[in-house]
């Protein structure tokens, strides 16, 4: 009978349900979610118009939940490659804490809940945009692009760029030039940010069979692409000024921060040894996070303090 009891316990354990609440929070990729929430908050404040503070809170909550749901669905689909990469091996599915089917159900339920809540309580156009974002991240990026092309993050980066646009849409009910400017800031920032990471984590991606630019086109080409995208950040950072979303404070900050971004990208490009490359890439990767955070923070400060924005050309 002891054997029978042990067998029952094993089979019930194998059917799942053993993850802690912390494992389910980890499935939502809280660190990514924090950036999603922050950029969405800026989108909410930057948008022309007014939204009731409570509905603004619900909007941010729904965007955070939708972003988290995308993360859970991404972890469900990518559990096999997560298991072989050092950075991701301890995630809840490869570590065995959560069954793949549980993560799938959790992700789908949260996706549906976040979209329905946003649509029913705040704005139908914003909810449709949130649904499209989840679809784009899970189906287009995770299932379609990630394992097929080295340009995966160039196109897939759009998914991470939608949150401020969704928040903007919740306020205005539409997508205009200002929302597109915020979208483009994140969209153009994503490739140099991730390729810097990919250069000093090249072995991880290669082991998992994920075609990142360094292991497909080579390190020299990746460094060139980082430099090109970093140059493109110059006109992109000016877009919030051209659309009348940001003012002098943002302009001053953007010039200084983007100049430093470019200098770091040039250092990566010129690095002659592998050691110097890794060091320069780590510096660029770290600074790129600060660059994005600071630019959005400057817009937020301008809106909160009532500093005037430029007239806008677009």
């Amino acid at each position: 009978m002891t054997t029978g009891t042990a067998h029952t316990a094993r089979s019930l354990t194998a059917s799942g349900g053993q993850g802690t609440a912390g494992d389910y929070i980890a499935l939502l990729k809280p660190r990514v979610m924090s950036l999603v929430v922050f950029t969405a908050v800026v989108g909410l404040f930057a948008a022309p118009g007014h939204i009731h503070p409570w509905l603004g809170f619900v909007t941010i909550l729904c965007i955070a939940l939708g972003g988290g749901a995308s993360g859970a669905l991404n972890m469900w689909y990518d559990a096999d490659i997560d298991a072989v990469m050092k950075r991701t091996a301890k995630r809840p599915i490869p570590s065995g804490a959560v069954e793949p089917g549980e993560a799938l159900g959790y992700g789908l339920a949260l996706s549906a809940a976040s979209v329905l809540m946003l649509g029913l309580l705040v704005s139908v156009p914003a909810a449709l945009l949130l649904a499209f974002t989840i679809f784009f991240y899970v189906v287009v990026y995770t299932m379609g692009l990630k394992r097929r092309t080295a340009q995966n993050i160039v196109i897939g980066g759009a998914a991470g760029a939608f949150p401020p646009m969704i928040a903007w849409c919740a306020v205005t009910g539409t997508i205009d030039a200002g929302a597109i400017a915020l979208f483009l800031l994140i969209f153009m920032w994503t490739p140099p940010h991730f390729w810097a990471l990919a250069l000093f984590r090249e072995g991880d991606y290669e082991k998992a069979g994920v075609p990142m630019l360094p292991n497909v086109a080579g390190r020299a080409e990746t460094k060139k692409q980082i430099l090109i995208y970093s140059l493109l950040l110059l006109p992109t950072a000016a877009l919030p000024l051209a659309t009348g979303t940001a003012g002098y404070l943002y302009a001053a900050g953007a010039v200084i921060l983007t100049a430093k971004f470019l200098r770091d990208a040039v250092t990566v490009y010129r690095a002659a040894t592998r050691e110097a490359e890794d060091k320069a890439c780590k510096t660029l990767f770290g600074f790129s996070i600060l660059w994005l955070f600071a630019l959005f923070a400057l817009i937020l400060v301008e809106k909160l303090t009532g500093l005037p924005a430029f007239g806008g050309l677009l």
Binding site: G4, T5, Y24, W54, L121
Partner: protein, 51 residues
């Protein structure tokens, strides 16, 4: 006399209990969100509408 089946260890049961509590909190939060949002969306004029 057969031994009673113990499908989950005490640790498993503790984890399940914590998850259930978190789920209950989430459901209560959802209830509050829908209630307050309904009040906000309806606004103050709800009592003045024609019946």
């Amino acid at each position: 006399m057969a031994e009673p089946v113990q499908p989950f260890s005490p640790e498993d049961m503790a984890r399940r209990r914590k998850r259930s509590i978190v789920l209950a909190i989430v459901l209560a939060a959802l209830m509050v969100i829908f209630f307050v949002s309904t009040l906000v969306r309806l606004g103050g004029s709800v009592g003045e509408r024609a019946l």
